[in-house]
């Protein structure tokens, strides 16, 4: 579904990604793991169009989408749940969800999609009139995922969904990923929480200093000595 070949990107004179190639098949959940500063967030920003490609190519369902700005990528079916959630704190939960349905093809389905999101996260329905900034961390993550789902995407990008959450809430977030997959969505998820992310994805890539170091199925990576030693502390 999504394919990156030899993509490079950076900020100013700093190069953050070097020749990254990556494939995500329809209906799959794919993880990107790696240490802080490896370029995981940069990779997500490139895919969602927030950051331009410096080189390489990107295709979505066979169509070249490299260089499209972020607001056009949403129309192509990509929804990005950004790092730190980035909700609009002084808008209500429902307004945050409303803006998620901004693109023209999503507006017509706003009411029905809102019901689907509320069915997925009943907690959000209880708090629909509350300002998003007053939600708990876990609820904010639900709201951020809900906001992304409002555009009726084909593929969901999740950047560190478990960051800053209590262990119990982290487990809930990974449970959410399971439920989103059950809806038939393709998911690309960036995480530092290696053990738990390998439990929910089919395949994963290890990104280190801007390059793909390893890739394989979740089972392969779980059995890999290097990953076990460096990232799981086993």
């Amino acid at each position: 579904m999504l394919s990156l070949s030899a993509v490079s990107a950076g900020y100013g004179s700093f190069r953050a990604l070097f020749d990254v190639s990556l494939d995500v098949a329809q209906g799959q959940a794919v993880g990107v793991i790696g240490p802080n500063g490896a370029g995981k967030t940069t990779l997500m920003r490139v895919i969602s169009g927030l950051l331009p490609l410096r080189g390489g190519a990107m295709t979505l369902q066979g169509r070249s989408v490299g260089g499209l700005p972020a607001h056009r990528m949403v129309e192509q079916g990509i929804a990005h749940v950004p790092e730190n959630r980035r909700l609009f704190p002084r808008l209500t939960v429902e307004d945050n969800l409303r803006i998620g349905a901004f693109i023209v093809q999503a507006r017509a389905h706003f009411a029905e999609q809102l019901e689907r999101v509320y069915a997925l996260f009943p907690r959000l329905k209880e708090r629909r009139e509350q300002l998003a900034g007053t939600l708990s961390g876990g609820e904010q993550q639900m709201c951020a995922i809900g906001r992304a789902l409002m555009s009726r995407p084909k593929m969901l990008l999740m950047d560190e969904p478990s960051a800053g959450l209590a262990p119990l809430v982290v487990a809930q977030v990974f449970d959410l990923v399971h439920r989103i997959r059950a809806e038939g969505l393709t998911v690309l998820i960036v995480e530092q929480n290696v053990q738990q992310v390998l439990d929910v994805v089919d395949r994963a890539y290890l990104l280190e200093v801007g390059s793909i170091r390893l890739s394989g199925t979740a089972a392969e990576l779980k059995g890999n000595d290097f990953i076990r030693k460096s990232y799981m502390g086993l």
Binding site: L91, R98, I99, A101, F102
Partner: protein, 284 residues
């Protein structure tokens, strides 16, 4: 209570309506685009000339001249953004202040060139209404009602529509709205058009009460900025409230002392409050 004081208070409220409308427009643009249109009151002046020209010179029906003037100033707002703001959006805020400040002199000089410095009036005299001994100008009453209607319409647009929600969102986190499919540039254009349209509406309402001349923007421009700062720049509700505080000071001060002194009082109040609450009356 004496009738004249009551009359002054009512006039203050009525004046506050138009000021509140203009404060809304300026705050909207500041909140969304993060620039201050120094020449905002001069867009109102352009709108007043549009009304004068279409109604008095070309003989258009008044309502049609009003509608055309609103559209004209809305287009002017878009042009201000496209020609002046957009090219320097990323540069230091002082550049944007200087550029829109330059626009102020340009518009005033251009209006002088076209219409000379003569005071002009559209000559529409609306009746004075008497209510239990209190005399109220119906032009002011109409201006107040229309300004309030404009504010309510803006409120529902911002609250209920997708574009309105995007406008409120972009004021909170402009870097991330692209991920929701929002194109910043088009939201900026819509916001500039709305800001212009509000100035155009104010121009119509003011042309029923005041003569137009090239420097009329100077008489209420500083007042609007003071109101916006008092309410907290970008805080639309704060600006709305501050408009009525300032207009009351001017009205009641004008009743007890004189109009000139009432402006001195208003600005003194402003300066004192800036020491006490530097981020506006509405902040905690």
């Amino acid at each position: 209570m004496d009738f004249y004081l009551l009359e002054a208070i009512i006039n203050g409220i009525l004046l506050g309506g138009v000021l509140a409308l203009l404060a809304l427009g300026l705050n909207l643009i500041f909140g969304v685009i993060d620039v201050v249109w120094i020449a905002y009151a001069d867009l109102v002046m352009c709108g007043m000339y549009a009304v004068y020209w279409l109604y008095s010179e070309l003989g258009w029906p008044l309502v049609l001249a009003f509608a055309a003037a609103i559209v004209f100033v809305a287009v002017l707002g878009v042009l201000v953004h496209v020609l002046i703001i957009a090219p320097i959006l990323g540069s230091a805020p002082i550049n944007q202040l200087l550029a829109t400040g330059g626009l102020l002199f340009f518009l005033q000089s251009f209006a002088t060139l076209l219409f000379s410095t003569e005071f002009r009036n559209i000559g529409v005299r609306l009746p004075i209404i008497e209510l239990g001994g209190i005399y109220i100008s119906s032009a002011r009453l109409l201006a107040f009602a229309m300004a309030l209607l404009g504010a309510v319409a803006l409120y529902f647009f911002l609250k209920r529509s997708f574009i309105g929600t995007a406008i409120r969102a972009i004021a909170q986190d402009r870097d991330i709205v692209g991920l929701m499919g929002v194109d910043q540039r088009s939201i900026y254009l819509v916001t500039s058009a709305i800001g212009g349209a509000l100035a155009g509406l104010a121009a119509c309402l003011l042309s029923l009460q005041y003569d137009v001349h090239p420097y009329i923007g100077n008489t209420f421009g500083p007042l609007i900025f003071m109101i916006c700062v008092l309410g907290g720049l970008g805080n639309m509700i704060g600006g709305f409230v501050a408009a009525f505080i300032i207009s009351q000071i001017i009205a009641i001060g004008g009743y007890y002392y004189s109009t000139e002194l009432s402006y001195v009082l208003a600005f003194t109040f402003f300066i004192v409050l800036m020491f006490v609450r530097p981020r506006g009356v509405m902040t905690r």
